[in-house]
């Protein structure tokens, strides 16, 4: 059982400011059903840029609901400038602390607030900032970098607690470690120089890489991949099993399969489904 503070329990059982503001001036949505938690934050802002009212709707566990409730209490009556300074740690502190595995709930609150303020200011829906590192939970390198910096994180486990990154298939752990090392100022070796391969060598290496690196992890989820042909630098494949019907198979193909092949064979490769 999680050890929640009395304040977390109290905000979970009696959440403040639940609901929707129909004529909200700023709305921030984060999370998704797939991730297991999601928060929509509504702000009513007066002419002096002061938050008159804040309401939320949250799908998630006790600490997600409590963090949302706490956030609305913390920002009501504050100016946007003041509110924008609220960090995830402030939210956790307000609740008397959160179990470390649940810190991502407070990060979700801070992200929703940022989005709602951006929405109010008419800043175009920010594109996903940075490059996705954790595909399971859609977390980018910039998000991870920020969490590492702001919360002085030192290990992959801590990064997972704060951002969820690395909490699924774990295939991004090396990349997360690189980000941590980078933030901590450690130097990394530059990527190895591309080798010059003959066509035969290239096809063989592609085949080996698919067998060794790609298939086992697809198979864990009931999927599979088949190499159909290699045309220059275009790798033609067929997705099988659950991958064939998966709604995010294109993401798998580009962000995972293609990335692996580029990393381990030659960087010019393009993967296409036939």
């Amino acid at each position: 059982m999680w050890e929640y503070t009395e304040k977390v329990k109290e905000h979970f059982l009696n959440p403040r400011n639940v609901g929707v503001i129909d004529d909200a001036d700023g709305v921030g949505e984060v999370g998704s059903l797939a991730c297991g938690d999601a928060l929509t934050l509504y702000l009513k802002i007066d002419e002096n840029e002061r938050i008159q009212d804040a309401k939320f709707q949250t799908f998630g566990c006790a600490s997600a609901i409590a963090s949302s409730s706490a956030l609305t209490e913390m920002i009501k009556g504050r100016t946007l400038e003041e509110a924008a300074k609220v960090t995830n740690d402030d939210i956790a502190q307000f609740l008397g602390g959160l179990p470390k595995e649940k810190m991502h709930c407070s990060v979700m609150g801070r992200e929703a607030l940022e989005k709602a303020i951006a929405d109010y200011r008419g800043e175009a829906e920010k594109k996903v900032e940075g490059n996705i590192v954790c595909e399971c939970f859609g977390v980018t390198d910039l998000q991870i970098e920020r969490a590492v910096k702001e919360n002085h994180l030192r290990t992959i486990e801590e990064v997972t607690d704060y951002t969820k990154a690395g909490g699924g298939c774990e295939s991004c752990h090396d990349r997360i470690q690189e980000i941590i090392d980078h933030v901590l100022g450690m130097v990394h070796e530059p990527p190895k120089k591309a080798r010059k391969l003959t066509n035969i060598q290239k096809i063989k290496l592609i085949e080996e890489t698919l067998d060794r690196e790609v298939k086992p992890s697809l198979k864990q989820d009931g999927g599979d991949i088949e190499l159909v042909d290699v045309d220059g630098n275009t790798v033609l494949v067929k997705l099988r099993g659950t991958c064939a019907t998966c709604s995010i198979s294109q993401v798998t193909l580009k962000d995972y399969v293609e990335k692996k092949l580029r990393e381990l064979v030659v960087p010019e490769l393009v993967v296409e489904e036939v």
Binding site: V18, G36, C61, G168
Partner: protein, 393 residues
């Protein structure tokens, strides 16, 4: 009501008869059963009785019973034994829905050079047995398939699988931790080489388990030490708990009918009551082939941990396959293997009953749970959309 305990697949209450049976061996009868005086003889006689009682429940012979510390130890012992006694074979077959005791060990072995096939299940949690049979090769050292799933209660056709596997000369192990005491088992008529069970799932205390080893099955011990358990498991016997487990097995035999009639009815009534009063809820699993005591229900658009904490306010104990309760960030591997949509996997709750549950308790849960789900849905940004989709669909 002091507590409504519907989490018997996690652990069970020690039966009063079981406690009574074991207590003397924690008090006056403390001799080491291996010693030579009659004080010890009294204890070792009682251990023999326990072994006979366990064997009787399983349709096995007493010397085929090895006492261990828990179900996980039994699982590890069986799989390591098969792997070590056939070092030339480098392939293992199991399923995608095993308990972590088997799943994580197989994953561990797969990182150490063994090839492991994880056989998938369908949307109802039924095993793809054809695929299982097709995956068997002369290189396969062992097949390990659970008898009944701890999360959904789905029961696999162990008799058929064991026969097919053994016909190919391959060792067969079943983790029957959830099945023993709930469904009749007769090992004499089955081609099972290894079977694991755990005491605390059938009203004995925690800290004792059994590995059944069919006579003639190649074996090498996991815990090497003294001559106990005929050299198959070293270490001084956990005397009181073993005696407790013997008694619990005897009781389980006499409660088997109750479990499959009265408990099944209670479970069915709970399930029907909740499905009828809570919209957008559905059973996860195969109602046709299921333990009599288990139901796993997915409630859309709500999160399991929040449900459990609100139920706890009413002193109702159950568990969930949601990410937040699994200690990881993803919902249970069993529900994911079944392809249960995320919308309901996160909001899945498992109720597992025992012979100690009553009609009044079931009524209480049917009364208390619907407002809890409604309350959480009213907080959820997804519910309006989901509800509209449901009304339309």
């Amino acid at each position: 009501m002091e507590r409504i305990y519907l989490d018997n697949n996690a652990t069970t209450q020690v039966a009063p008869e079981v406690l009574e049976e074991m207590l003397p061996y924690l008090q006056d009868l403390y001799a080491n059963p291996s010693s030579m005086y009659s004080f010890a003889g009294e204890v070792s006689q009682k251990l023999k009785e326990a072994r006979r009682r366990v064997a009787a429940l399983l349709g096995a012979q007493a010397e085929e019973i090895v006492f261990t510390s828990c179900g996980s130890e039994s699982d590890s012992t069986a799989i390591w034994a098969a792997v070590h006694s056939q070092p030339e074979k480098r392939h293992i077959v199991t399923t995608r829905v095993e308990h972590p005791a088997v799943k994580n060990l197989c994953e561990h072995l797969s990182h150490r050079g063994w090839r492991v096939t994880f056989v998938p299940v369908d949307a109802k949690g039924r095993l793809d047995t054809d695929l299982l049979y097709r995956s068997l090769t002369p290189d396969t050292a062992i097949v390990s398939v659970m008898w009944a799933n701890n999360e959904t209660g789905v029961v696999f056709p162990i008799a058929d699988i064991a026969r097919e596997v053994r016909a190919r000369g391959i060792v067969f192990h079943t983790d029957a931790v959830q099945a023993v005491g709930k469904v009749p088992i007769d090992l004499q008529s089955l081609e099972v080489d290894f079977l694991s069970l755990s005491g605390h799932k059938l009203h004995a205390p925690k800290g004792v388990g059994v590995l059944y080893i069919r006579k003639g099955t190649k074996f090498s011990p996991f815990l090497i030490g003294g001559h106990q358990e005929r050299g198959r498991r070293g270490g001084t016997e956990n005397v009181a708990s073993i005696i407790a487990l013997g008694k619990a097995c005897e009781l389980a035999g006499s409660h088997m009918h109750d479990e499959n009639s009265r408990v099944r009815k209670l479970r069915d009534r709970l399930e029907a009551g909740l499905l009828a009063s809570i919209p957008a809820s559905a059973v996860n699993g195969d109602p046709e082939h299921r333990l009599p005591n288990t139901t796993n229900i997915g409630f859309e658009s709500v999160e399991g941990e929040a449900i459990l904490l609100l139920m706890d306010r009413h002193r109702i104990c159950a568990s969930s396959g949601s990410a937040c309760t699994s200690g990881s960030l993803e919902p249970s591997h069993v529900l994911r293997a079944m392809g249960v949509p995320f919308t309901s996997a996160h909001g899945s709750v498992r109720f597992s009953l025992s012979i100690y549950n009553t009609d009044a308790e079931i009524d209480y849960v049917i009364e208390k749970l619907p407002p809890i789900i409604e309350r959480l849905r009213s907080l959820s940004p997804f519910w309006k959309k989901q509800a509209a989709a449901h009304a339309a669909g």
